[in-house]
Symmetry: C2
Subunit: 340 residues, 2 copies
DNA sequence: TTGAAAGCGATACCAT
DNA sequence: ATGGTATCGCTTTCAA
């Protein structure tokens, strides 16, 4: 068998199966109007010649790419969501074109967005790093591409969204701490340029109020990046204000940084200061044993995939907003790290 | 200005600029054979009408997609590399089609790969979760798409690769521990289905030998996934064998799990057991203060991008292998986490 | 320096 | 149920 220099096209298949291009196309697209026997012949030919549709050609004709554009601020953080989304979309023959704004600002978001749109993605899944940017809002409004916002609210843009409600988990966390005798709780959280940042601050304030804590005892330290700097400054600030508990809504790296800083100050956890961490819901993930606010990764991915698929299948229904929530896990085993 | 129902094509531009499609195409592709004045007129028209090339059409004609396929086992772990790669490739107008085999096996790798190839990517960047699979090797051999392996070695496949040398860092780490008085070092590392897993084990053994440690004092605990299970079992096994130092070559989650397990055993760090962790090289990343083996994320991404670009530009040179290395950072501040 | 026309590989309409 | 043909938007000879 000679090595074909050129990959087979539907015309090759048509000839091999003794039918027309049209019929091959029908088989490819699962049209019902094909005789079973013909379908078999075509399928055989496809398998025999190792035919694969040329997606560029199909795309040109149908003006659909089978690609979903994904914009996230930091890939490592959104990794599990991206992964889950990728898996679900792949089941429907959709590919994921990924871009990260690398934890930056609105202009960076726009650049990435334009690249995705320029490639003609069929839908966008967006977690811009600044959902308050007017330029972003204007740009999104100008798009016809269907889109789903990932826990973001962009003013004046009516589109599908998956939102995460942080209030119940914060309420539970604060209750847990208060029941444990804590009276002054501090929050270390992200900046307010995206919805979760704002919701966490608001939800925390509400939770403290509901738990009967004096307003003065709620402290918020906000940082642009949830890195070492955030951990150190956050801990120092909060200790300074006399907190006896900290809720940290960031990555495991933030948690580690906070633990280290507390250790440097000689503060015992949880004896002197309680720590509530942030994690992913799901069996696969390492639990530190600390009380944790768990983010519903799979759920978010599932809801997002569903919305995307429905739009790609052509739904023009009014924008839908799905809401899910973080969950507070009390944590069975407190983290006791021994003194060196 | 009426809203165009249909996005402008080069024909629209051609008419608006009073030239032919051909000329517009020449401008688009930066051909030298265009009069400066003509070029300007065309550029104006492009800007005025908000024209964007239809990549599907271009792709059909040139049989290049401008897409690079990326296969990684776990997105969160490869996040920084993906991000950096994405950024560099974007500068050259290339998009990244991402797939993860979700920490699974060879069949999963193959599925993802076929999807990427089916989409006609111009190049592949691969970190399969099992680089010893014969099926994978056979499949890769059958491909014409240029590819770059990310710290993987696939038998019988001659292609570009970026490899990471772990030996020097391990040597330095072991020396550091021995100088510190440690005599029995354990290693907690990943499975041997990929190159880094094998290299770490081999490098560790060599380092121990070079440091004059008895062979019996080197212990390796291998796990499929570097999660909580790995941390607990690894720590238990190693303590059981009487180690006074542990080198953990996994994510921050593994480190956290190990710290926790040690704490549960009431073992002080570093007083009783020293811990060397694994991290990313670079200023952006949180350092725990513990001695660390740092992975050269940016360097790997840069080398990879360079290899990819060179192939995409048509290089048919003999396969190139770039080698970089992890670096041992002694760590200034040991992690003292206070007892609760 | 510029343009006319062919063609990339599919799909979709209209016949039969 | 099947086939012929125009067409999607661009690049690429080949001529002028």
């Amino acid at each position: 068998m000679p090595v074909n220099s050129r990959p087979p096209t539907i015309l090759d298949i048509a000839e091999a199966a003794g039918v027309s291009k049209t019929t091959v196309s029908r088989v490819l697209n699962g049209s019902a109007r094909v005789a079973p026997e013909t379908r078999t012949r075509v399928r055989d030919a496809i398998a025999r010649l190792g035919f694969q549709v040329n997606l560029a050609a199909r795309s040109l004709r149908t003006s659909r790419t089978g690609l979903v554009g994904l914009l996230v601020p930091v890939i490592s953080i959104f990794g599990l969501i991206v992964e889950s989304l990728d898996g679900q979309l792949a089941e429907h023959g959709l590919g994921v074109l990924l871009t990260s704004s690398r934890r930056r600002d609105a202009p960076r978001d726009l650049d990435s967005l334009e690249m995705l749109v320029g490639r003609g993605v069929d839908a966008l899944v967006l977690a811009p790093s600044d959902d308050r940017s007017p330029e972003l809002a204007r740009y999104l409004r100008s798009l016809r591409t269907p889109m789903v916002l990932l826990d973001r609210e962009v003013r004046g843009v009516a589109c599908d969204a998956v939102l995460v409600d942080h209030a119940p988990a914060l309420l539970a966390a604060v209750r847990h701490l208060v029941d444990d005798g804590r009276q002054m709780i501090g929050l270390i959280t992200r900046n307010d340029r995206t919805r979760p940042g704002r919701e966490l601050v608001a939800g925390f304030a509400a939770a403290c109020a509901a738990a009967g804590l004096a307003p003065s005892s709620t402290h918020v330290a906000e940082f642009v990046d949830l890195d070492q700097q955030a951990a150190q400054t956050g801990v120092d600030t909060l200790l300074d204000r006399g907190v006896d508990a900290i809720i940290a809504t960031g990555t495991l790296a933030l948690t580690a940084g906070i633990l280290e800083r507390l250790a440097q100050h000689g503060v015992g956890v949880p004896s002197e200061v309680s720590l509530v961490t942030w994690g992913h819901a799901g069996p696969e993930n390492l639990e530190t044993g600390l009380p944790t606010i768990a983010y519903p990764v799979e759920e978010v991915a599932r809801l997002t995939a569903r919305l995307v698929l429905s739009r790609i299948e052509g739904s023009t229904a009014t924008p839908r907003v799905e809401v899910t929530r973080t969950v507070f896990l009390p944590g069975d085993v407190p983290l006791h790290a021994a003194v060196g």
